[in-house]
Amino acid sequence: MAVLRVKFTKTKRDKLAQVLWILNWISVVTGAILFSLGLFLKVELNKREELMADRNIQYVPNMLIAVGLIACAINFLGGKICYDCVDSTKFLRWKLIMLPYITCCFFFTFCVLVGALMCYSMRGELEESLRLGLTEAMGFYKDTDTPGRCFLKRTVDMLQIEFQCCGNNGYRDWFQIQWVSSRYLDMSQKEVVDRLRSNVEGKYLVDGVPFSCCNTDSPRPCIQHQITNNSAHFSYEHQREMLNLWMKGCRQALLEYFTHIMQSIGLTVLIIWLFELSVLTGVRFLQTSLENVLRQGDPESDSDGWLLENSLMETARINLNIIKSLGKCNQIDTGSNGDPNIDVPSSSKACYGPDNVPLKQSPEAS
């Protein structure tokens, strides 16, 4: 009882081969799209690598790049095969390769699906990486004289301006770190010394934020120092002032940005996966119908095409038996005590190829 048996006339087979040729070429293009999406994601992650702690998130774009390249190669081969399938003489060339090719494709589509799902699962690790990375970056904001960290100030400033965010979770994060370098603090002033002594770690903490936190939509000039002190500014109440600084935290802003990118990429990869699956189904039908034509002997006749020759359970059982007998192959050899000159009749079936081929009788040892 075959799975999804369909009758194919000669013209139908030819049409199927032509359509599949075109579809395979389209799949090469989608493979290239996958590759470029992976490349784009890699570039975006690298652009912000200073703000992310060392986490293993590069595996997602690397997987997409690899899958894209393999998809191009597989579909290129598939296109070549389908092009030759119109002519049944040329099909003989590819006959033996087709079934392994289809099996490979089938497992490859799993990789594509895994790639799509990974895009959605990356979010948790990304959030953790951003949290740690941003805390570190803000901690080193003042170290513009330390080699290796001297550009962190500019990076954080540009990030806050571009993504319209302030601090890690909010602007209050800046109150807890010293973001003014000690090089620019006048240690002879009493006020400065008092502030340094007022906390355990000797940090110069202020209730002020860098200029990059300023909101351009604010109707009044930016208030970035003495933010929590209402009396320091005329007609100012910091609890109600929403437009003065950016209210969003940079971790949330970056996470939203990357999640948006990855959701779009994930959706595209899912669509590509469905497309690959349909092309694979077409190629399987083409393969089985052409093999049946060869078996019948008349290239012009109708033939049946199917997905699986027997039902799903039987196919699984047969394949399991094949795998078991592969194991038994080794056991029979030890029965002859390792002597290669003793000819033992082979009882294993062919490991691949069309079913119903009669077992060959091995010649008796002379």
Binding site: K153, W179, S181, D186, F211, P219, R220, P221, F234, S235
Partner: protein, 342 residues
């Protein structure tokens, strides 16, 4: 004596027709490109129209859009003619339209030349509009409660951040205007009152700049207030401090952006003129080669193609004579009429 004659065999004619067809399609793509550049330029002008006082001239982008569309149309027609030129049946259809088409191409080239000239000359207009517009923007920075100007602050802040500039010519332009609205000034404070009374116009002037002038590349946190007062900040000398705020003026920054865009578009249009001239020359050669075939039934025969039937001088004097005839024919008619009526 034809001008620049070239002998053509069948092979040469076929090759010329094919090459010309591809050249025409390249010209169509260039036309589409010019059209999209015109749209891009228009959008950029619209985006910055607030700092240009909403006074900017859209002549150049509109002309570019028109030229792009015309280029597409003219070159598609040329491509079709080339495609049909090797089939004598189809070509006879197009023959009568060729002379007016070539004249149209000449006119189109003149239009392209005008567009290129405008691209280079209108930069002066942009320069002047920017100067005026930025001055007004800085003046209206504080008027965030006046309808029609309430977004000037935001536009100017984002412009200064994006183009990395401060003020009109430099940051000192901010010292001459009051950029803090009176709504946020505590008029009961003596210091504020002194400052307001210290100048004739009663403006609250400071030696400070808005936060958008700050340079993120500065190693120290941004100093935006008391810029000229060295003692107000620790270890600060305003004469040698270069990284604190942007030192370039927005006038220069915006102008170099627009002039760069307009110069590149002008260069592209000059290249398009050369391409169109090549198209016209090729088409003239092809059509004359097809016309001068000794034996129209035999496609293998040789023929001659040229740019002008007579030499340049003779053609010129012929055209002048034609124009004079046109003038004289009116006079003869008048004389005839007057004779007729008498």
């Amino acid at each position: 004596m034809p001008f620049m004659p070239v002998k053509f065999t069948l092979q040469k004619r076929v090759k010329l027709a094919q090459a010309l067809w591809m050249l025409y399609w390249l010209s169509v793509i260039v036309g589409i490109f010019i059209f999209s550049l015109g749209i891009f330029f228009k959008i950029e002008l619209r985006k910055r129209s607030e700092v240009m006082d909403n006074n900017e001239s859209h002549l150049v982008p509109n002309l570019l859009i028109l030229v792009g569309l015309l280029a597409c149309g003219v070159n598609t027609f040329g491509g079709k003619v080339c495609h049909d030129s090797l089939d004598p049946m189809k070509f006879t259809k197009w023959k009568p339209m060729l002379k007016p088409y070539l004249l149209l191409c000449c006119g189109f080239n003149a239009l392209l030349l005008l567009a290129a000239l405008l691209c280079f000359l209108m930069q002066f207009a942009v320069y002047l509009t920017l100067a005026e517009g930025l001055k007004n923007s800085i003046k209206f920075y504080k008027d965030t409660d006046t309808p029609g100007r309430c977004f000037m602050k935001r536009t100017l802040d984002t412009t200064q951040i994006e183009f990395r500039c401060c003020g009109n010519n430099n940051f000192r332009d901010w010292f001459e205007v009051q950029w803090i609205s009176n709504r946020y000034l505590d008029m009961s404070n003596d210091a504020v009152k002194d400052r307001v009374l210290s100048n004739v116009e009663g403006k609250y002037l400071m030696d400070s700049v808005p936060f958008s002038c700050c340079n993120p590349g500065s190693p120290r946190p941004c100093i935006q207030h008391h810029l000229t007062n060295n003692s107000a900040h620790y270890d600060y000398d305003h004469r040698i401090e270069e990284l604190n705020i942007w030192s370039r003026g927005c006038h220069e920054a915006l102008f170099s952006y627009f002039s760069g865009m307009m110069t590149s578009i002008g260069v592209l249009i000059v290249a398009t003129i050369a391409l169109e001239t090549a198209d016209m020359a090729g088409l003239k050669y092809l059509t004359t080669a097809l016309d001068t075939m000794e034996d129209p039934e035999n496609p293998e025969c040789e023929s001659e193609g040229w740019l002008l039937e007579k030499s340049v001088k003779e053609t010129f004097s012929l055209q002048l004579a034609k124009l004079k005839m046109l003038g004289k024919s009116n006079q003869v008619e008048e004389g005839g009429n007057s004779q007729g009526t008498t």
